[in-house]
């Protein structure tokens, strides 16, 4: 395999890995939008909670399994408490109130984390046995840990598909999204259903956060930067559609990565080196927003509208 093709494959893997992380966040966000009609800006805070809980458990106990459990449990529990204490009061209010309240939650969580753990970033190591790289194709070495993230993300996608399309709970979730009053009239405890869905979304955000911990630095505010991309994913995929979230996330991840990797090089062939690099970096960072604009031009409700 030529080096150019090997590099392209590696960059595609990088794109899929970023996409899968975005999917874990976007799935929860889009479910909460689609079913409860709530804009939850604090979704990134749940990602941060998962990352912090796992990082602290990993450094105190040294066990990656305990860290996994702690991250998932902390994020899901925080999500359900937030739903119970704050969001439950907001379903009937308009979006501005929801945005204000969940924005307040961001400030609350960020400052809370500063009080509890300080501003210094926390560090977690990649668990033993997942360090290093494997040869996925001739000439392409790829870090094991990133492969694991891809695998987990795809497994979650499959699991969510089965849960939503094939299970009884999933049926209620789908019905709750489209015919809320009817579901309530049939005697289903919609409030409990909402809490569960919110908890599931939080759990997935926590999973994304705890898996990102060993790659990025775990720090206050880590959720906000990725949340903006997540919003882009949700809009591209179609609000409320988990399938849309998966395709949107992988699309955004791959496009973002490939633009970053190749645009400066292409520009360098037509202009001077450092100008090309600076301009290329600028263009690449605009890329996903351009993509969003293009998708919306062609399909104003996103790729997979939930209530078509």
């Amino acid at each position: 395999m030529t080096p150019g093709v090997a590099l392209l494959l590696e960059q595609l893997l990088n794109g899929v890995q970023l996409g899968v992380t975005l999917f874990l966040l976007a799935a929860g966000l889009t479910l909460v939008f689609g079913i409860m009609g709530v804009i939850n800006l604090a979704h990134g805070s749940l990602y941060m909670v998962g990352a912090y809980a796992a990082a602290i458990t990993a450094t105190t106990t040294g066990s990656p399994w305990l860290a996994l459990l702690a991250g998932l449990a902390a994020a899901a529990a925080t999500g359900m408490v937030v739903e119970f204490v704050v969001l439950r009061r907001l379903y009937a209010r308009d979006h501005l109130d929801q945005v204000l309240a969940t924005f307040g939650l961001i400030l609350f969580f960020n400052e809370g984390m500063v009080l509890l753990f300080g501003r210094q970033p926390l560090f977690v190591n990649v668990p033993e046995g997942l360090r290093g790289a494997v040869r996925v194709l001739p000439g392409v070495d790829y870090p094991v840990y990133r492969l694991l993230i891809i695998a987990v993300g795809l497994a979650v996608a499959l699991g969510l598909y089965l849960l939503i399309q094939k299970s009884r709970i999933g049926m209620l979730v789908r019905a709750g999204a489209t015919h809320r009053e009817m579901v309530r009239a049939l005697g289903v405890d919609v409030r409990l259903l909402y809490t569960l869905v919110f908890g599931l979304g939080a759990l997935l955000a926590g999973l994304a956060g705890l898996m990102a911990g060993p790659i990025l630095s775990v720090q206050v505010g880590m959720g906000e930067s990725i949340l903006i991309l997540t919003f882009v994913v949700v809009v591209i995929g179609g609000i409320g559609s988990v399938r849309g979230a998966l395709f949107g996330a992988v699309l955004v991840g791959v496009v973002d990565t490939l633009l970053r990797a190749y645009v400066p090089g292409l520009l360098r062939q037509v202009m001077a080196g450092s100008e090309a690099d600076a301009l290329g970096a600028g263009l690449a960072s605009m890329g996903v927003y351009l993509l969003m604009a293009l998708v919306l031009l062609a399909k104003p409700r996103g790729l997979f509208p939930a209530h078509a």
Binding site: L7, F103, L107, P121, Q219, H307
Partner: protein
């Protein structure tokens, strides 16, 4: 109730405004006779927050060590977060100057924030003493009598690293920095004294935390060394991913000080052993002022001071020396200039002087990450550059 896309996008936009709403309301001005107020705008949230924390803590430490005074004048430090957003920094500066009537400002970590704030402060007749960011424009054509750089001009950090890479015999390097003023200054500075070839030159995003695409590019370019400038949390993420990609073992890294501070080192651990970098100061400097500072900082905050802390401490000392000369006043900027220029303070870096453009003229040292008593530490080696100023002073005419 359904959610439309417009509402969703609007809420995404609201996210961007987040820290604006987070700033506390302005406080009323205090009557005359009160201590001299110094306004500190620094980054206390997001990926650069520990840098701002060190700048804030070290400045306050200098005030505390003199019993609430600097140069014999009672001072009060007001601190606000810029959230690494130029617009927010500008607003804080305006509030400081209008509502609090502050004339002396300091604290900014990032050059893009400084670029928005410094012109406002200087145009309004204020004084800005920079403990960190010093972009090229403020050292050259747009230099100002009332702008003081205590740390270094941005380029010099990287010029010294370029010199070190040349000294180490690196022939074909891959260089990376974020795409903002200081990042572009970094690569320009590095190339100025680096004599080898470039295997590649990449600008990353200032809000980027995943560098997988860059790691693949580095590997594909097959350089014999890597130079990168990523301050704060970015640098930690970059180094960890560099190690995870298995590059650290084969591709030596040469760095400038901000990419390997005490906090970064603690994060990266043993894998960083062997990394070469340059700095104007290090915790093991043998002079008395430095020893006193490191001991006091460690005792109070229970962590090693970073370069940022040292720069902020020196900024406080330099301001102290100026206040001593003016009798604690900052209203007469001409008098402040005359008192500040001789740099009559005991710098933690041993020797320190201001060049014609109010930027430092100082020595640069090679440091190496080594195992000291079982823990990786920054150890000072040879001098790389002597009495090094910056490339822009000749363009500066007050």
């Amino acid at each position: 109730m359904t959610i439309n896309r417009r509402g969703l996008l609007a809420s995404g936009a609201a996210l961007g405004l987040a820290p604006l709403a987070a700033s506390p309301l302005s406080r009323p001005a205090i009557a005359q006779g009160a201590p001299l107020k110094i306004g500190m705008i620094t980054t206390l949230s997001g990926a650069g927050s520990y840098l701002g924390q060190d700048i804030r803590d070290a400045f306050q430490l200098a005030i505390d060590m003199e019993g609430g005074k600097l140069g014999g004048a009672p001072v009060q430090l007001l601190v606000e977060d810029d959230g690494l957003r130029p617009g927010q920094g500008k607003q804080v500066a305006e509030r400081f100057m209008k509502n609090e009537r502050i004339r002396l400002l300091t604290g900014i970590v990032f050059s893009n924030v400084l670029g928005a704030v410094a012109p406002d402060v200087l145009d309004a007749g204020g004084i800005y003493v920079s403990p960190n960011a010093s972009p090229s424009n403020l050292a050259g054509k747009e230099c100002n009598k009332n702008f003081w750089s205590i740390a270094w001009q941005n380029d010099s950090l990287h010029e010294s690293a370029g010199q070190l890479a040349t000294n180490l015999g690196q022939k074909r390097m891959f260089i990376l920095a974020p795409n903002y003023q200081a990042g572009r200054d970094a690569l320009t500075g590095f190339k100025r004294l680096y004599k080898g070839q470039l295997a590649g030159e990449v600008y990353t995003r200032l809000d980027q935390t995943d560098f997988a695409a860059e790691m693949a590019q580095i590997r594909a370019a097959a350089p014999d060394g890597v130079y990168q400038f990523h301050p704060g949390g970015l640098g930690i993420a970059f180094l960890r991913q560099y190690i995870q990609a298995g590059l650290m073992a084969n591709l030596p890294m040469t760095l400038a000080a901000p990419s390997m501070d005490a906090t970064t080192l603690a994060a990266v651990g043993d894998a960083a052993v062997g990394v070469n970098l340059t700095s104007h100061w290090n915790t093991d400097f043998p002079n008395e002022a430095s020893k006193r500072f490191v001991a006091a900082f460690q005792q109070k905050f229970n962590r090693l001071p970073t370069f940022y802390a040292q720069q902020s401490f020196d900024a406080a000392l330099a301001i102290g020396a100026a206040l001593k000369g003016t009798g604690g006043k900052v209203d007469d900027t001409e008098a402040f200039y005359r008192a500040m220029k001789p740099a009559n303070f005991e710098s933690t870096r041993g020797k320190f002087a201001f060049g014609s453009n109010n930027h430092p003229v100082q020595d640069w040292w090679a440091l190496k990450v080594e195992n000291v008593a079982g823990k990786p530490a920054l150890v000072t080696k040879d001098r790389v550059l002597t009495n090094h100023g910056d490339a822009y002073s000749s363009q500066c005419h007050f």
